[in-house]
Symmetry: D2
Amino acid sequence: MTDNKPREECGVFGIFSKKTEDLATLVYYGLYALQHRGQESAGIVVNDDGIFHSYKEVGLVSEVFSARRLEELGLGNMAIGHVRYGTTGVDKRLNAQPIVVNHIKGRMALAHNGNLTNSFELRQELEMNGSIFHTTSDTEVISYIITKERLSAPSIEQAINQAMNRIQGAYSLCIMSPSKMIAVRDENGFRPLCYGVTDDGSYVVASESCALDAIGATFVRDLEPGEIIVFDKDGIRSIRDHCKKIARTFCVFEYIYFARPDSVIDGCSVHEARRRAGKFLAREHPVEADVVIGVPDSGLDAAIGYSQESGIPYGIGFIKNKYIGRTFISPGQKSRESLVKIKLNPIAETVRGKRVVLIDDSIVRGTTSARIVKLIRDAGAAEIHFRVSAPPFINPCYYGTDIDSRENLIAVNHSIEEIAQIIGADTLGYLSLENVVKLGGENNDGYCIGCFSGNYPTETPSGERKSRFEQKISEREGKK
Amino acid sequence: MTDNKPREECGVFGIFSKKTEDLATLVYYGLYALQHRGQESAGIVVNDDGIFHSYKEVGLVSEVFSARRLEELGLGNMAIGHVRYGTTGVDKRLNAQPIVVNHIKGRMALAHNGNLTNSFELRQELEMNGSIFHTTSDTEVISYIITKERLSAPSIEQAINQAMNRIQGAYSLCIMSPSKMIAVRDENGFRPLCYGVTDDGSYVVASESCALDAIGATFVRDLEPGEIIVFDKDGIRSIRDHCKKIARTFCVFEYIYFARPDSVIDGCSVHEARRRAGKFLAREHPVEADVVIGVPDSGLDAAIGYSQESGIPYGIGFIKNKYIGRTFISPGQKSRESLVKIKLNPIAETVRGKRVVLIDDSIVRGTTSARIVKLIRDAGAAEIHFRVSAPPFINPCYYGTDIDSRENLIAVNHSIEEIAQIIGADTLGYLSLENVVKLGGENNDGYCIGCFSGNYPTETPSGERKSRFEQKISEREGKK
Amino acid sequence: MTDNKPREECGVFGIFSKKTEDLATLVYYGLYALQHRGQESAGIVVNDDGIFHSYKEVGLVSEVFSARRLEELGLGNMAIGHVRYGTTGVDKRLNAQPIVVNHIKGRMALAHNGNLTNSFELRQELEMNGSIFHTTSDTEVISYIITKERLSAPSIEQAINQAMNRIQGAYSLCIMSPSKMIAVRDENGFRPLCYGVTDDGSYVVASESCALDAIGATFVRDLEPGEIIVFDKDGIRSIRDHCKKIARTFCVFEYIYFARPDSVIDGCSVHEARRRAGKFLAREHPVEADVVIGVPDSGLDAAIGYSQESGIPYGIGFIKNKYIGRTFISPGQKSRESLVKIKLNPIAETVRGKRVVLIDDSIVRGTTSARIVKLIRDAGAAEIHFRVSAPPFINPCYYGTDIDSRENLIAVNHSIEEIAQIIGADTLGYLSLENVVKLGGENNDGYCIGCFSGNYPTETPSGERKSRFEQKISEREGKK
Amino acid sequence: MTDNKPREECGVFGIFSKKTEDLATLVYYGLYALQHRGQESAGIVVNDDGIFHSYKEVGLVSEVFSARRLEELGLGNMAIGHVRYGTTGVDKRLNAQPIVVNHIKGRMALAHNGNLTNSFELRQELEMNGSIFHTTSDTEVISYIITKERLSAPSIEQAINQAMNRIQGAYSLCIMSPSKMIAVRDENGFRPLCYGVTDDGSYVVASESCALDAIGATFVRDLEPGEIIVFDKDGIRSIRDHCKKIARTFCVFEYIYFARPDSVIDGCSVHEARRRAGKFLAREHPVEADVVIGVPDSGLDAAIGYSQESGIPYGIGFIKNKYIGRTFISPGQKSRESLVKIKLNPIAETVRGKRVVLIDDSIVRGTTSARIVKLIRDAGAAEIHFRVSAPPFINPCYYGTDIDSRENLIAVNHSIEEIAQIIGADTLGYLSLENVVKLGGENNDGYCIGCFSGNYPTETPSGERKSRFEQKISEREGKK
């Protein structure tokens, strides 16, 4: 159950081919593999020798792109795509990506994953010089900054390199000019970004390696924090002026929840990181029990780890209805109690009369966790020991994760014991701050754990401003 | 039959209310009445006390707006809308209007009917200063120019007033700021624009008076060429700095074909203007005949005029299938000949054995006219005397009318006699240049007849440039 | 304005080709031409050498059939189609036609226009022998009766011939067996039915000749009342056992309103019949006036006739918005008054200060007529003389026309003078019963005018039963 | 991967309430829980005091039913629903269920899961007496037989009881008359059927208990083979005239693959039955290995069983893309090889360098199994030991399972060793016939294993006839 779970904002994908071919369909498959990173809107831009054809719309990849839509995008030698998760209602459609802009040196398409921390300031400065904005997204700010640098820079990659001195925060970018595809990862390396190569020599950029797998491309390597890679007819070039200036602070929640278990990020398998979380949990919060079960889908890997470390058998605790999608008509509040088993139904056989260790990756408001505990209890579990494969959430994120508002976070206002009681578990244990930074294994350190610890690796937007840029915009509106 | 007919580019509509109410639905009705001015895309922006909610999409008003879509736009105290006809395939969706932009002083929405003659130069200048463009439309250029002026101007209307010194060509604008609705008509008065008032005191701006009728508003007056009218909480204010500097040059094709017969523009009923065209034709090209028929829908009014002046009885010559819309699957080329009567079927009873005067408003390529003549001939007409309620098309339009390319215009390459023979008419007569400028009646002079005469009322884009801005853009694309 | 107007129930179309080809598209064009006869649902069945492919759905032809749908129907050597207007909400989809049934001798598809008067009795008899019904339509009853006869009859056409002894009322049928297409018109000839031939020798059956025109077929002749025509690989055969047993009683409302003006039925042009109605009106109800205008679209032909007979000039009084279709969102009751001009807008120029003769084909409840009169009055008409090209409606129809319920018919409860006052006309005149039977011209007599006179040409359903079969069915439902 | 997997034909659901309420939405949730039993079409019929409102269409439950569709079905006191999987293209829509028929005693709606073995004979007999058929489905045959019996039987339930003497084969039915809901399970008990009760006393009938869970109903019991249960205003009545006349022969493939793991059928948890299959496999085909993985989703339960019995650790071997639905655009044949990982991506971490036991529930053509083995091999597995939780398929099913045609079944033409080689596994083991009949646990015997053994529990359709009724129908077509 993913209700109120923190949500990742985006996934990016790009391909640079040596010939003119149907790239839209390949990007479509890549976006399918990244759909978990953003379910609000999807878009593809195909570059046919400098002419850009694009389509983006609110909806899942499957809803936005039909065979006819893909065909209309035509053939090309480059293409980039984007899936987005966002918040505000009215702007959903407007803020879909990639965005395409025309400037003095031609066209540019951008796909962005992350969140700037100084976009408000940058935007204000641009507006004071007469710039107009069509969207409320950081991506349009980035495109302006690059365009401004492009007036003096000798090339698009040099303009990007200069722009990186100005933009702060989290950004993994896939940019397309008439003749080049360019991948960029911010100096902190908050968000993942990697590239690979296909059998026929096309280059592929993706937020996660699972998207390379999806189209049969071979993973080459992750971008280093601060790195710019240029793909053009002359091959690959890396610009590393912004590398190694500061330590990597990768978002640990990518390992815990966001990324797909079959992806490998910065050298560590996501499945492995989660299994490791389960093992740490087993050591930190051991218990005598008969079976370990995970809450599908994101608690399953950690449950395997807990089982392996503790020796308690692993079991299948739930069946998740795989047909429930966006068009599912949710039961109204009043009938919700009796209809809770539509999405998730326990397998009574697994838990009846047993002492159960139940693993999930987070507790947000507590409501969902309480329902899940009750499902297992009603199915006959003798004891329920809830284990969470992350520390408690108690702080906002400024780098592109959408966390429930602070007053809703159960861990802000309650002790572990109180939470256990509220959700109805016999015992409750969270992963420690100490171990959460070890999830990537040895030689893989440097994490942002701001949402757990409150310590952020960069300056954060100053206090009087709300964390969400859109809110600032709408405040301004009424007044002028 | 409208195949290859010149096409108007847009219709604009706006409403300023004294209370917060469902304006989206009123704009919807207004756009329905203006649908003939643009069938490619439609859009509405609702202003709820400074917050803008917009929706625009490719399609007819009926396709773009469902009851749910209108409801989602919410209540507001101002709203503007637009219908558009355009040309290029890929950019249809992107170039839909109204456009909404954010600038340093807030938001602005623009709906535009017309075509600038210096947009290429303005755009290039803006790009050289680092501006980025999301669309290829003149409207974005106008919004930039206004925004730049707004940096120094004390108000939005003053910014517009200053911007009018910079933009050249045809523009009827309906603009919305957080607190004002502003109507603007260019100095030449190429395109119509009027305003009215509803029973409960709301102000309404529309391209044609038929849209005021549609929502039960009372017509007040047309905007003068060069006039800016500001509607806000303090009432109405007119800015006339650009009025009367030059003579009006209203597009005569608005009377001949574009506008709806039930509209009154600059003091003259469109129906009356067309009836007058028919009367002129009867005097210029008299003939002995038994019946006068018009080609539906735009030839009917002139046919009445011809009948009245000549005394030859008026008849109903054709039935037009009223169910044929955009989703109609056109017969392929090979079967077109036998299937021509799907859209337009002659009433044999009216023409059998008769000498027929057949009135249409234009002959473009000649193919359609030839088909219509053949329909009447096959239905048994003894003689067919074709009369055209406009002079021959032989030149491009730079002010927002999309005319078939010159090599396709039959009148460019053929004499009247040749055309008569090609389309199979016994005789053929066009309205003279002398009389076309009298269509509006007495006291109603000042027309642009550039497409007929080749004399244009403004500077035109210089020779080496193509007339359509989009083409310039796409040329640039490939090179950078 | 067609609100509450009587509504025709159906149109049928069929084609028998000598080769296997894309007939679905031809039927599609035929149905487009017959769309005015039924806007609720549409369907096509293609017969590919005995295998039937069908699609039918609620909606206009344009909504039901996309290019893909037509393609999915495949090629065939025969095909039939149907457009339907019906009444009950829930059964709309179920009762769409053509219906396809499987019986002991193969398959059969039926398209039906009309209404049986003994379907209730036939159905009851069938059910008592264990028959089950999927729909509430007469067509399924007909298919059962034919099937029962087929058990003993040597051929499908002979089964139909025998079935005609059993079914009573109005029916124009287009039936398709695996190897034959069969057209059938009831003995009274209530509804039109004709056939034609294409250039390449295919036979075409249609409710009206305008559908033959639409696909370029040449009209051959109308079916005689009571005639069966069989089209198969051996050519055409006529079975006339039921011909000339009784006099023709053709529905005169087909001439007045239902049929398209460009159709010719039983030797008379519909346009001509309507023009004749106008002429009769001019003689029966003369008046001094300045202009004659018709209510679009069905009042225009009669207006021409009135003008020609009276010598009063014909004018264009209204513009009808041609973009208003099924998806148009009607203004709610409260705002209806101010928004009445969306669909129909008067041309003030035509009527201002004039004495106007206003022609429509019927007055049902009077509400719509009152609105139209007010439109013209508000536009400045000095006098309004309303003329109706049919006698007053005061009785139900049992032969397939859906007339508003009796308590709503204004003519049932009010005198001519009262009606004139209610609708706001200065004078009012209806066509007389004496002249309505002369609409078809000389040598063209034999009409059903039951809805005007109350005298019906057949037995009618007995008194205690409601006229609409569906109502009987639903009554039964609740009780068992 | 489910390509070419045997497919269950249907799921049924019904609810009988004591009050008039929104039952359509409850049926919708029930059908969501049964979606795995049929993905081709879905339908719901609501009974509002004898008036039936129905909607059915091709598509998933989520595609067929929007909130508006459900609302249009209205309130009722009874409702039934159906999900269907079928085969023929053109008839998909026609054969959607439930079907509603009108007969002499009122209306009846039927939802059917299973396949008759004598439907061809029954249909022929009916047609010889003049019956017509609208569909090619067994369900229409059943409705006719019940209707015929109803002519003499005193009640609908008695008519059903008599009809059971005539129809042979597999049928689990949910039938609705104007005042009763009736559940029926055939004498062999081929398909599951159970009922439950909600908190407010409504009765619920469902193919599987997971659908009772979905709406919060409490499971009461399975229907006995041959049992009829009547739900009406007087409560529940069981008719057992057809019970215990022959031994139960439940389809064992319901346990192996069709049913949901969280359902309990005839006293046995499906999850448990599959886990038992894994345990049997571990004993029958032991191997030295490092990890046991299952092919999602249906191989997971058996993998747990194999792991538990063998002591080899359980691992997560694959990630299945959960966004891939019916609108997914499958890669063309040529690019299929490189794109195989879109749907299923291995977790290399789990298998790299390991000896892997890979569990799936069946091997049909072998192609999919070969691809899966290759995925694991390419991910670095040292050895792959394929275990199948069912015996080899080698025979057709006559009771409602759609098995690939015999020439495609790999086990028909190849030995176990050959299959292992074809799919690329190091070893291969199938579950034995001896153990497959023990899957339900003790006291739970009586299975149909005809598809494995070739021994069928009933007479089968005679030799010269094809197994699929539709094929017979289409054969007949061309000839008449």
